[in-house]
Symmetry: C2
Subunit: 153 residues, 2 copies
């Protein structure tokens, strides 16, 4: 077994044995193979539905490095990232991910990863209601931001 | 303009004027129309690439209510949620979202929302490299979790 995946698995085991959340662990390493941060699912312990293993380890790595940009880093996770986590990984500029279990494996034990993926592919449209209103009242926010050459990340 | 969207817009304005992040604001209200939490993009201020307005306001609302389950709540956001935020909203069990600007509007001022949506629809596959390894070494985590009737959220 890959040595970094072994550590991600240990993170998952730690989280479950401490009742912190689901059986998911992740680590981030830099280009030299140094471990920057380890994390596990903390949804139950922190009452935070966004505290999946990947989001937790990204937050931790960014805190340690003092940046929101993890370019050059690699993420190992014990399960295929859900769409929230995958998008978080992209926003963090991580380009390489290794995962072990699949979204279908997570689905089989009751997690909704595969349902959310299907929604984003255009199925299950009843999952959530989205309605657009007041664009004309808010678009000025974007025009102002662009005009002032503000940071894009 | 809808009174809740007006507040989401004010949150966005607050965030930009304090250099906390991009021009995005969001609020969460309960079934009676009470405001549970307000939030804005905090990526720059907190060096956290996951600190979009919607994620920030979900964390804040969960903290206030002491739960990871926001069933019955409604979210207003000044821009269409990116896939990370939309998935976070689904994980939080929020079923109704009102948004103002679109993913294309965000794309026009340089944000990657639309590119990530396209990736999840099966395009832009070069955006990130995902590789599966060691499933057989990690699947036991899921079997154990299921066997012990652990919490699914």
């Amino acid at each position: 077994m890959n040595k970094f995946m072994e550590i991600a698995k240990e993170c998952a085991e730690h989280g479950v044995s401490h009742n912190e959340g689901g059986p998911f662990g992740a680590i981030i390493i830099d280009e030299s193979g140094n471990i920057i941060a380890k994390g596990n699912n903390m949804v139950l312990a922190s009452n935070d539905p966004t505290a999946h293993a990947e989001v937790t380890v990204i937050r931790e790595a960014c805190k340690k490095l003092g940046t929101y940009d993890l370019s050059g880093c690699t993420l190992y996770t014990s399960c295929e990232p859900c769409p929230m986590c995958l998008s978080a990984i992209i926003w963090a500029n991580i380009k390489q991910v290794y995962y072990a279990c699949t979204r279908e494996d997570a689905g089989k034990i009751g997690f909704r990863d595969d349902i959310i993926y299907e929604y984003l592919e255009g199925k299950n449209k009843e999952l959530i209601k989205l309605k657009q209103i007041d664009r004309e009242g808010c678009i000025g926010l974007f025009n102002e931001y662009e005009k002032n050459n503000k940071v894009i990340y």
